[in-house]
Amino acid sequence: MYEKIVNLIIMQAEELNETLENKIPAELGASASLFDGKDGILDSIALVTLIVAVEQSVEDEFETSIILANEKAMSLKNSPFKTIGSLAEYIVILLNEENTNG
């Protein structure tokens, strides 16, 4: 599931890259940097756009609604939005939680 999600994020990142000056190095795969709150690759608008696009593609692929920017994500010490890999790991957790809780 993790690999599938990494690929989904890469696809969305590549699409977003067409509109960005500072492009996400999607070719680096899971280790590609996204946002670190200070001088990450994405500004906040681009991050919001990416999060929404990823939420929608996860919803389409797994038929499950998740909310990526929830309180937990914002308060985690190691932000799940740091890299494509950390975002994918976070989505796996949310999907598992969603499937357990129904």
Binding site: I45, S65, I67
Partner: protein, 233 residues
């Protein structure tokens, strides 16, 4: 706009929402409405969802279906709202929760999920509903008026947050219209209230759709974060 516009209206079972659903279908919009119960009408170009607007999961599911069916959303009218005429000393906490859930949480959820879909096309028009009860400081409507004061603030701020996505957010503040919402208000109180308007009469459904028409026009792209009260408040 060349293609048929897709619009969500919340609270379409009766009153203003029901009127707006009929009005915008007649103007050629695809209208998707919702309310807690089924509607007693059928309209070509209208689709209904039964849900509580404060149910996050259900709201997300509704918008996901719209995204899959139409791939777009142009307009959101947050009309669903409840009031409860009561003195503060006689207001139960669960009434407060109900009003805040429907009026504030519901509006928030629809704005958030609608904006996610609207931003794909870099275009969207959101119209929230405020009320003259807020500036008129209507006694007996403390929680209702406060919930709508929250909508004013919310509208002004998200107008800024969503501006970069081509989405405008405004609100319309109706005067009393003869609907279920005001049925519990004594006549004398209502007459006093109307007397405080520059134009002392009940509002009509058409007064409201007239303001909404202006906000959702493509040409109104430079109008955002604004509230228009009817009746001259």
């Amino acid at each position: 706009m060349d293609e048929t516009q897709v619009m969500i209206i919340t609270g379409t079972r009766k009153g203003i929402g029901k009127y707006l659903a009929h009005y915008y279908v007649s103007k050629g919009f695809i209208v998707i409405g919702c309310s807690r119960g089924e509607v007693d009408y059928k309209l070509s170009g209208y689709q209904h969802f039964c849900l509580d607007v404060s149910d996050e999961k259900k709201v997300k599911q509704m918008i996901a279906k719209i995204r899959k069916t139409y791939g777009r959303l142009d307009v959101l009218i947050n009309n669903a709202g409840i009031a409860s005429m009561n003195h503060i000393l006689l207001t139960p906490a669960h009434t407060v929760h109900n009003i805040l859930n429907t009026n504030v949480v519901g509006t928030f959820l629809f704005c958030r999920e609608a904006a996610k879909l609207m931003q794909k096309n870099k275009y969207g028009r959101i119209v929230n509903t405020s009320t003259v009860a807020t500036p008129l400081k209507l006694e007996g409507e403390a929680i209702y008026a406060a919930s709508k004061a929250a909508i004013l603030s919310f509208t002004e701020i998200i107008a800024r947050e969503l501006a970069n996505f081509g989405i405008t957010v405004n609100s319309v503040g109706p005067t009393p219209v003869e609907t279920d919402l005001i049925r519990s208000v004594p006549k004398e109180k209502m007459d006093n209230l109307l007397a405080r308007q520059a134009i002392s009469r009940f509002g009509t459904f058409e007064d409201i759709s007239n303001v909404i028409d202006f906000f959702i026009k493509k040409e109104s792209e430079f109008v955002t974060g604004q509230n228009i009260y009817l009746g001259g408040i």
